[in-house]
Amino acid sequence: MAVRIAATGLRAWLVQRASAIYMLLFIVFLLAHFTVDPPHSYPAWHAWMTSYGVRVITTVFFAALLAHAWVGLRDVIMDYVHATALRVGVLALLGFSLAATGVWMMRILWMARG
């Protein structure tokens, strides 16, 4: 079953839809928040961004973003890079870059700061 799902690309399709819908809701929420109650100073911005709830939904947002970018860019790479060794190399580079981006983002979100 797992093999069949991987072979049909159903999982990639599902990841792309689920992450898209979460990110869409997140962006609508951000737009609404910044329209209704925009932070006007550093303390206000910092307090909002580091509140527990915003940290959690932003963490999920970046997880969705990285998964979405992986599926999308992987498709682009598979369309244009055909030589197997080069394709594996480029995909590995992409995976490493996305993972590094995720680590960077988690450090910003969860490391305690002034």
Partner: protein, 141 residues
């Protein structure tokens, strides 16, 4: 219907050369694309731009949270007209990608899959993205 004469001629030539009924012709500059193709290609290109923009966004977020001085530096970036122009461009990139994505999600649940509606929604996406960007340009430029 979407083929120019030159394309049609090349198509015939390629079909004769390969002996295959499948047309082999990929010169995008000469193919006259239906509106949905433009929406689709732009969806892909804007996706690549968004991915490339992610590190810049995270860098700015990091800077804005580092302290009052670096927060002020980020807000002052908006005094720079080149930065505002880049921001407007990214508003278009994001708006087109979102609208084209919503069009995909709707077609997943069988809304707008029929050709006339698909063509109309493709026009709406293409112009909708530009309209949002013009709105941002009006506010910032």
């Amino acid at each position: 219907m979407y083929l120019t004469k030159a394309v049609a001629r090349t198509r015939v030539r390629d079909m004769a050369a390969t002996g295959s009924p499948r047309p082999v012709f990929f010169n995008l500059a000469q193919i006259q694309m239906p509106v949905g193709a433009l929406t689709s290609i732009t969806h892909r290109v804007t996706g690549i731009f968004l991915a490339l923009g992610v590190p810049f966004g995270i860098y700015l977020l990091d800077l804005s949270l580092e302290g009052p001085q670096s927060y002020a530096r980020v807000t002052r970036l908006f005094d720079n007209v080149a930065f505002r122009a880049a921001a407007v461009f990214f508003v278009w990139v994001l708006a087109h990608h979102l609208l084209a994505g919503i069009r995909h999600l709707l077609s997943d649940i069988d809304i707008g899959s029929q050709l006339p509606i698909a063509r109309r929604s493709a026009w709406i996406v293409n112009f909708g993205g530009v309209a949002v960007a013009l709105f941002a340009a009006g506010a910032w430029l």
